[in-house]
Amino acid sequence: MRINVVCRYLGLVLTILGLFMLLPLAWSLFRGESCSTPFAISAGITVGLGLLLWRLVPTGEGKFSRREAIVLVTGSWILVSLFGTLPYVLAGTFQSFVDAWFESVSGFTTTGATVFASVEDQLQGILLWRSLTQWLGGMGIITLFVALFPIFGIGAAHLVEHEMPGPQADRLTPRIRDTAKAVWLLYLGFSALEFILLLIGRLPVFDALTVTFSTMPTGGFTPVDLSIGAYNSLFVEIVVTVFMAVAGVNFGLFYLLAWKRQIRQLINNPEFKLYIVLLVAGSLFIMLNLAFSMDVSFGQAFRHGAFQVVSIMTTTGFCTADFNLWPAFAKAALLLLMIIGGSAGSTGGALKVIRVLVLFKYAYRRIVLAFNPRIVIPLKVGGNVVSEAVISGIIGLAIVYFVIMFVGFLVMSAVGLDQVTALSSVLATVGNVGPGLNLVGPTANYLFIHPVGKVVLTLCMLVGRLEVFTVLMLFVPSFWKWR
């Protein structure tokens, strides 16, 4: 492990972060808000320290190893979240540092859980920064870093593969840097498109910008207290729903569509098909449930059901209705979708559709094997055989994922939450969703939770965003021995 090499690149990552602080700085200057000085100071500190690290730490020779890549990825996320609190701290937005940390981690990990009791009385600069952190975290600040800086070689591949959501996929391009560039370009393109459509939908520029910054990364912060429901516009809801659904699809498929004109790859992709089926089925079931047990029309039930299902399954966390008041079945279904999450290679969080698909096929194989041990069943996804190594990786991850949920559930119960709140708060943070049920429901917030609980939840967010193992590896002693 060459800590100096890692520090150098951490410096560069910080510099990028600092440069992004200029956007809310410009906005607050334009609006004449009092938070312009804090932003100027934050940007100065972040860029200055970043450049200092980059210039002063001596460089090392040789290639970037896998371990260094893992330390750099996890280190960047922690450091970026830490420096991301600077504007909140300097502007005095929160009472305590833990709250600022919670909001910052929740932003970068695209969770969207908030500790603001009310956002509408906050400064616009702060709210813009909050959404911008989500936008940066969505496609990944490391991926952006690889796209911007030519660190060639396998190091870059390790970096991107440890940050991208989902099990290791086929490489799209011969050079990982081209992949990073392509996905960021797509991300930028979709964001621009959504921004324009929201403007057409008569949203104010500021709202359109912040909502866009929170939709594409499947984040969930809004500049209004009632989330998307506050706009009460069908057009805006449709636009947001479509872009949330888009953000939950594997960006590699969009790459093949846009650059290679291979639409079949998208349509025939087994994960994409299951993702769409789950979204549609979820919407329909919840529509029926709502229409029969609550006093609403089918149209209204579908409008609310579909928006909430897409929002929760893609792990965005916007809402147009308080699903806390919905019947038990609808809530249970949403909780289940929260665990499944988006597709691999998307900006969504949680377990990912492809993993759930493999887990179910694996379970089916075990059942068949129980009555006919001699049968040979290759586990196929979309006609391709999944190797036993990949299967065991997915099972391992699923186990660890559920262990984290149980441990989190215990801890959150220990800090005094009721069971529904405790469980849903952990599910909503590990899956990077945002709102949970009961006390942390869509209209509530996380402010009342004990600081220890908040810290545990931020850890859940980081672990969830970085695909569990990337963070947990650092806590295995043998990781630090032997180079």
Binding site: F152, G153, R171, R175
Partner: protein, 454 residues
């Protein structure tokens, strides 16, 4: 450039690593899942698991936009088929490794009259632009070293007007002196130094150490004088012992035989020994084990002028070469398939190690050039390239000196060749269109050097 490599054996992997390092786009096609997994964790390349002889897999690898397809699976026929299909599907250039000399056109058909004789396989009709036969290349190199003037391999540039020779620093007069204080007999540029297994481009203040390997670039005339000064005068080789009657050993024995050198081939396997004894005309073939010291003495190996070890086992080659040296053979040459062993072997006393892998990589390097480059070769391993460019009138470097034009600091100007005139070192001389320029550059800066000549 976009390059597809079929087959991830030692050579395929090595080339993939070098090309990926050289900032090319590389896709590796390989049927074994395990191997692919290994590549993914070591190289920044795209991988496709499958058989490259199927058009479906080739299409998946986007062969139609490939600038170069390199077929290096362990089967000659497969490699030729891959090239054929790739060419049909639209690849720009193809390279196949073909080991069997009968294919590579090393032999010619028995024709009715000598003028009608032609190669059995004409690569172009198969869609193969370059056939690489590592064994023949190794034999060429060994023959050059044993029969040439220089004790070490020499590479030609600009039709042999400029050469790069490899020497070992042994003379007291050279050691512990900065390069600019050393009096060389003619104008030359020390383009690379290999020290303790590491290759680097020296500055003029670099202090030479004993046992450094230096790569010196000079005109042909100065090279002869340099050889006299830097290398021990080598008596012409009269007798050579070749250990290992494999393909390489056989070709070497046959070549040396033609040069009138008396050759003894030691082969462990009796059957193979009989086969090659029937093919060779004058060479003596002996069945036995070259690790047996008494056996070697009994066969009179100690009186030979050179010992060449060409078995398939690297370890055996190193061991036998050392044994021969120990018995008093003045020169030992070995074939090493693992390039990682080269510094090791040379450090413990083997005179020259020839690597089929590096020779293959060097040949392929010619095909992956951009801009005005017309030839390139690796020197001292695979980190540093010597590249020859022709200067076009639109090139950024035209009408400027190399330093003015912004030659990267890591790279070094080697020579300017204008008509028959050779300028070494180029210094502040201005480069004109039509000139040939030789630049020494590490792989990492090759692309910025190439930009100067675009």
């Amino acid at each position: 450039m976009y390059i597809i490599i079929a087959g991830a054996g030692i050579v395929g992997l090595h080339i993939a690593a070098v090309l990926a390092e050289g900032k090319h786009e590389v896709t590796v096609v390989e049927p074994s899942d395990e191997v692919v997994e290994g590549i993914r964790s070591h190289l920044d390349v795209k991988t496709i698991t499958g058989n490259a002889t199927t058009p479906r897999i080739l299409r998946e690898a986007e062969v139609d936009r490939a600038d170069l397809v390199i077929a290096v699976t362990n089967n000659d026929e497969t490699n030729m088929l891959i090239c054929f299909l790739a060419k049909e599907l639209g690849a720009a250039m193809t390279v196949a490794r073909v080991r069997n000399p009968e294919y590579s056109g090393y032999f010619v058909t028995a024709a009715k009259s000598p003028s009608a004789a032609r190669k059995i396989i004409r690569p172009k009709t198969l869609g193969v632009d370059l056939l690489i036969n590592p064994e023949v290349a190794v034999a060429d190199e060994i023959e050059n070293v044993l029969c040439g003037l220089s004790p070490a391999p020499i590479t030609d540039f600009a039709d042999g007007q400029v050469q790069i020779g490899e020497f070992r620093v042994e003379q007291k007069s050279l050691v512990n002196k900065p390069l600019n204080k050393v009096k060389f007999p003619g104008p030359c540029v020390v383009s690379a130094i290999v020290r303790a297994g590491k290759t680097f481009i020296p500055t003029s203040e670099e202090i030479l150490q004993s046992d450094d390997h230096i790569y010196v670039l000079a005109s042909r005339d100065s090279m002869d004088r340099l050889s006299e000064m830097l290398a021990h005068p080598q008596p012409p080789v009269r007798s050579v012992v070749v250990f290992g009657g494999s393909r390489v050993g056989y070709i070497v024995a046959e070549r040396l035989e033609k040069q009138g050198i008396s050759v003894m081939v030691i082969e462990q396997d009796l059957n193979r020994g009989q086969e090659i004894a029937a093919e060779l005309k004058k060479a003596v073939v002996i069945q036995g084990d070259a690790t047996d010291r008494d056996f070697l003495i009994e066969q009179g190996v100690s009186s030979a002028d050179a010992f060449v070890s060409t078995t398939e086992s690297d370890e055996l080659n190193i061991l036998c070469a050392l044994l021969a040296k120990n018995l008093g053979v003045p020169r030992s040459l070995i074939v090493l398939s693992k390039p990682g062993y080269i510094p090791l072997a040379e450090a413990i006393g083997v005179d020259i190690a020839v690597s089929p892998l590096l020779l293959t990589a060097s040949r392929i390097a010619h095909f992956v050039l951009h801009g005005g480059a017309i030839s390139a070769t690796f020197i001292g391993g695979e980190e540093i390239q010597a590249i020859e460019f022709t200067v076009s009138s639109t090139a950024g470097v035209a009408q400027h000196s190399l330093t003015e034009a912004g030659l990267p600091r890591e790279a070094k100007a080697g020579a300017i060749i204008r008509d028959e005139k050779v300028i070494i070192p180029p210094g502040d001389n201005v480069v004109y269109p039509g000139d040939h320029v030789i630049v020494i550059s590490p792989l990492s800066t090759t692309s910025s050097v190439e930009k100067l000549f675009k």
